[in-house]
């Protein structure tokens, strides 16, 4: 089956920043993304779990974007502006996609 090269960018970020991030990457021309829940984790700022969150302040989500390789830099620049001052992790992986016309 015919596949096409693309990049999978995963941004792990505080839930409270989600809308700011997706608004920003949409402005940067990203047309598709999915949001995955994160149950908990650990990092430089300590461990946390979703159970027992009373507010929206501390949960995290993953924003996953599949994009054409040539659009990667625009996305990273945009994402970096939002992520820079906040906790969060950004990873990029090479992937193949079906139906490239959709990206």
């Amino acid at each position: 089956m015919q596949t096409h090269k693309a990049k999978r960018v995963v941004i792990t970020i505080e839930a409270i920043m989600q809308k700011r991030l997706t608004d920003t990457i949409e402005e940067a021309g990203v047309t598709g993304y999915s949001i995955l829940p994160v149950l908990g984790g650990s990092g430089r700022s300590g461990a946390w779990t979703r159970e027992g969150q009373v507010g929206r302040a501390s949960g995290m989500v993953q924003v996953v974007c599949i994009i054409r390789p040539e659009r990667l830099d625009d996305l990273l620049d945009a994402a970096f502006d939002v992520v820079e001052t906040h906790i969060g992790v950004v990873t990029i992986t090479d992937v193949e996609v079906l139906r490239a016309e959709r990206f």
Binding site: I16, R20, S45, E51, G52, V54, A57, S58, T85, I87
Partner: protein, 325 residues
């Protein structure tokens, strides 16, 4: 004194507070007891809806007091002003950075609606009535403290922190909208509306509060586990001193306005309590470099339990002494 102690004992030995203590103990013992996030959110929707509605229905039947506007204004001033006191106190009592101190200060101007709810249930148990519109005052006090905190930081000379999107988020956050919305529904539908849903929002209320406080206890207990690493002695002392100072400011305002004993208690509780929902969320957006462990642990791990167990009985006793209620 005996009065405080007996009231405190009464309060401590109620199912509501014991449920909280159960939660704290389970968390400290590292039990895996936990309340799913969705259920906890469902319970808080119930509590906000019920407390707002009942406040509104009470306004509908007792009419609006001439003191309503004055109390709302007092709430505004307390919420905006208390962070200044808190900030200076933190500068004296702790070694926190300017940023952390401002973030913490913002929490103490704002309010904890669960502490408010717990206080209304204590008042009800004691047969002390209060102004129904106090829930509207609670809503009004949520946000101004955030602006004060950001102002405190900006005096240190940093860029603009507050934008339109954030302001909108703060003013339209779910808790405020639900509380005010339910209050308005209560005002509009009055006694009749209350009657039609009282077996949902009145009868089981205390029981639901028990389960919610069980969960709050679990969260607070998890926070307490790390207290040692996060907070020094000065900060812990602040977490118990500041609510008392806040409550006295609330009491003074209540006396000026001429609130009933119950109303005075509730204004004291609002002033004494610290936010752990709206303000932390706003701080993560506007002050990401402030350490969330500090303000969450102080607010949820120290001040919230303090108010629930020692504070409320203390404020009730003070208010009765002073208002003669």
């Amino acid at each position: 004194m005996a009065d405080i102690l007996s009231l405190a004992a009464d309060n401590l030995l109620s199912p509501v507070i014991l449920s909280f203590i159960l939660g704290v103990s389970a968390a400290l013992a590292r039990s895996d007891l936990s309340v799913p996030e969705a259920v906890a959110k469902g319970l808080s929707i119930y509590l906000l809806f019920a407390i707002g509605f009942k406040g509104g229905a009470s306004v509908a039947s007792h009419g609006v007091d001439a003191t309503l506007v004055a109390t709302l204004a007092a709430g505004l001033v307390l919420s905006a002003g208390l962070p200044m006191i808190a900030f200076n106190l933190l500068k004296i009592m702790t070694k926190m950075s300017r940023t952390d101190a401002a973030a913490v200060a913002g929490h103490y101007g704002s309010i904890s609606i669960v502490t408010f709810v717990a206080a209304t249930s204590v008042l009800q148990g004691r047969g002390i009535s209060s102004e129904g519109y106090m829930v509207a005052v609670a809503a009004v006090m949520e946000a101004p403290a955030i602006l004060s905190a950001l102002w405190l930081i900006s005096t240190g000379g940093t860029e603009k922190r507050m934008d339109g999107a954030l302001l909108r988020e703060i003013l339209l956050n779910g808790s405020i909208v639900l509380l005010i919305g339910a209050f308005v529904i209560g005002v509009v539908t009055g006694e009749e509306g209350l009657a039609s849903i009282s077996s949902f929002i009145v009868a089981p209320f205390t029981g639901v509060l028990c389960l919610f406080l069980l969960d709050m206890g679990l969260v607070a207990g998890r926070g307490l586990r790390d207290v040692r690493g996060v907070l020094g002695g000065g900060a812990i002392a602040f977490g118990m001193l500041m609510p008392v100072i806040g409550s006295l400011a609330g009491l003074a305002a209540a006396l000026l306005i001429g609130l009933s004993t119950g109303g005075a208690v509730l204004l004291m509780v609002l002033s004494a309590s610290a936010s752990y929902i709206a303000v932390p969320a706003a701080m993560r957006v506007a002050l990401p470099e402030a350490n969330p462990s500090i303000y969450l642990t102080l607010s949820l791990g120290i001040t919230f339990p303090f108010n629930l167990t020692v504070g409320i009985p203390l404020y009730v006793t003070l208010a009765r002494l002073v208002t003669g209620g």
